[in-house]
């Protein structure tokens, strides 16, 4: 059940009209895929599968009846030779065995990779967290839950936890407000639509270090554009990344700039698939633009917004590159930008405390899963599905 809803979130929400806009889509309609996926589980409608391959769901009716009758009347051997369905069935069975063989061969490469680099390691992470393990060290000893308790008592870990929440607390509302606002604005600017979308989306594909260099310069307290702007507006300037108080907000500004294009595209495709009739009806009924937005547009795109909330939360809990790039690999002044993942990276690879870091990673994973579940629970109450 969770997987079905995950599926719906991952694929269904970002809507197909955008595909139609960007060019002819070879896949045809997405909706049909979706309904198929949900109805069958195996992807194909049940009846379709049955009609297409009678051999799998049992031999054809007529053939079976023949054998049943044949068992009582003529001698068995004769029946076997006389039964025309048998050869067909044997052929079918051989074919289906061959199909299974082929399926196994086809699935093996992908499953081997996933087994080696996802399934097994995910379990191993949990195991490592309960041992004292050092890379290249001798032996491994049982640690019980000491890795976890030690981590929780560590000041830096607590600080990282707070930082991570602080960062997510800025990023999630920031992303939603900015992406919905920009999508609504750009959507109406029909003439330059594609061009503006390109501009907004460019940062999304660029590497963190490459773009961080420009932003480090913008945030430069003495010569940067940020302070230049504040100065010009007559506002107090800031130390930005060099101030423990402003370092995290600075990174959030960078991250919003870097990632919001993705969210804008998703919201725009949701908006462009809104039923125009409802909006027009609201218009005719005398609802002004503000009211139309709150009462019609927002409820209709709420599943998309919900999807973005989950994706952004997970994404920000996992942030690393922007922290590394903007804080010069240091985690900020006074650990002000040290997030959980940054700390895990440092603990494991700078200090070689593999199992200690594993315990932290397990805690982070639990945190991510807990957030996803809480949000899903809330989503069921807040999101409006048509």
């Amino acid at each position: 059940m969770t997987i079905d809803s995950e599926l719906a979130i991952g694929s269904g929400d970002p809507m197909p009209p955008d595909v139609a806009r960007t060019g002819p889509s070879p896949t045809g309609s997405l909706e049909t895929d979706q309904s198929r996926t949900e109805s069958g589980g195996t992807g194909l409608p049940r009846t379709g599968a049955r009609e297409a391959d009678p051999g799998r769901t049992g031999p054809p009716r007529t053939g079976k009846r023949d054998t049943d009758l044949g068992r009582t009347v003529p001698p068995r051997t004769a029946a076997r030779e006389a039964d025309p369905g048998r050869a067909v069935r044997m052929e079918k069975r051989r074919k289906s065995l061959r199909d299974i063989g082929l399926a196994v061969v086809f699935l093996t490469p992908a499953l081997v990779f996933l087994l080696a680099f996802v399934y097994v390691p995910s379990v191993m992470a949990l195991v490592l967290a309960f041992f004292h393990y050092k890379l290249g060290g001798v032996g491994t000893t049982w640690a019980g839950i000491s890795n976890f308790t030690d981590a929780l008592q560590l000041n830096v870990f607590r600080k990282a936890l707070v930082n991570t929440f602080y960062y997510a607390g800025m990023m999630v509302p920031g992303t939603i407000i900015l992406s919905v606002g920009l999508a609504l604005l750009i959507n109406k600017a029909t003439r330059m639509y594609a061009f503006i979308r390109t501009l907004v989306l460019i940062p999304y594909v660029t590497p963190a270090v490459g773009t961080a260099i420009g932003w480090l310069w913008i945030f430069n307290p003495t010569y940067g554009l940020a302070n230049g702007l504040l100065h010009w507006l007559g506002l107090p300037t800031s130390q930005w990344l060099q101030s423990p108080r402003m370092a995290m907000p600075s990174i959030a500004i960078y991250s919003l700039w870097h990632g919001v294009g993705f969210d804008v595209v998703i919201v725009m495709s949701a908006i462009s698939s809104l039923p125009q009739g409802v909006l027009e009806a609201a218009s005719v009924d005398g609802a002004n633009a503000w009211r139309r937005f709150w009462r019609v547009t927002l409820p209709l795109i709420s599943p998309t917004i919900f999807f973005l909330v989950i994706v952004t939360t997970i994404g920000t809990l996992q942030s690393f590159s922007q922290i590394y790039a903007l804080s010069g690999a240091s985690g900020g002044p006074e650990y002000s930008t040290t997030t959980l993942l940054f700390l895990i990276y440092e603990t494991a690879f700078t200090y070689n405390h593999i199992s200690y870091a594993s315990a932290m990673a397990v805690l982070l994973v639990i945190l991510i899963l807990a957030f996803t579940l809480i949000q899903r629970w809330m989503g069921k109450r807040l999101v409006f599905y048509q």
Binding site: T22, P26, A103, I213, I344
Partner: protein
């Protein structure tokens, strides 16, 4: 009339906001082309000069061609492996009927729900045990299967008309033949989308290469840039020049092929998965 006017002002506002998104790139460009005196001037200098000599110097300071070649090599091999494994798996999950097909698909989708941090450290340990740390393979193998790719391709295969398969069967084509001559050519645009995402992911990847590599000769360009940043943190012009020539390729790829990227976004997020 009024409506038209409003739309016009909206277009202008949108355009200005859109342009604001590329200001950081512009700043980088201006900084890289400034004269030494102009860089340290307040308020900042905003017009382009054309002094390319800094580019020549920045380019000569590091073995950029090698790092770029590394990045491309890693991306190309990852793309080849991931596309092959995804196509085969997606084909099996949509065109071959066998028991437990739905189950296998769900088992794969579970991967999308496991946060990457869960397997970060064990993967490092595994690669260390296999003696693959500090190689290209350490940067390729963990991305050998793309669940996002399997998902996208399967969705596409299922949406294909059944007539294709029936026609192929009547013509006597088996699964292999059908895959090679019908399904594969049809799914080329999807393959392109997946490949593009893997390419951008490779070009931008930072954490994993930082973890598994130490020797410069196997490192990708993003790591090299991070090191360049740490070594040259005083020379802003040189840094900016390096930022320009290491970021430009991926921007160009995006600008020319954005159709495929937007398609990937609209079908569910999937950078390097």
């Amino acid at each position: 009339m009024k409506r038209k006017y409003r739309n016009g002002s909206r277009t202008i506002v949108s355009l200005l906001i859109g342009l604001a998104f590329v200001i950081p790139f512009y700043i980088t460009l201006v900084t890289s082309l400034d004269s030494k005196a102009d860089v340290f001037r307040f308020p900042p200098h905003l017009l382009l000069d054309f002094r390319w000599n800094v580019y020549v110097r920045a380019w000569d300071m590091f073995r950029w061609p090698m790092y770029i070649a590394n990045t491309i090599l890693i991306a190309v091999i990852t793309i080849a492996i991931a596309l092959a494994s995804s196509v085969l798996a997606a084909y099996a999950l949509s065109f071959i009927k066998f028991r437990g097909r739905g189950f296998v698909f769900i088992v794969m989708l579970v991967v999308l729900m496991i946060p990457g941090e869960a397997h970060l450290i064990p993967n490092f340990v595994t690669l260390a045990k296999l003696n693959l740390l500090d190689t290209y393979w350490a940067q390729i193998l963990p991305y050998g299967a793309s669940v996002f790719g399997v998902f996208l391709l399967r969705q596409f295969f299922l949406s294909l008309s059944k007539d294709y398969q029936d026609a192929a069967r009547i013509d006597g084509a088996g699964h292999l033949r059908f895959l090679w001559s019908v399904a594969l050519p049809l799914c080329r645009p999807i393959l392109f989308t997946i490949g593009l995402y893997i390419f951008i992911g490779s070009w931008n990847s930072l954490m994993w290469p930082l973890m598994v590599t130490q020797s410069h000769h196997v490192q990708p360009v993003e790591i090299a840039l991070a090191r360049f940043l740490q070594n040259n943190s005083v020379d802003w012009r040189r840094l900016s020049a390096a930022a320009v020539f290491t970021t430009l390729p991926v921007i160009l790829v995006f600008v020319f092929l954005q159709k495929y990227i937007i398609r990937g976004i609209s079908r569910g997020e999937g950078v390097r998965g």
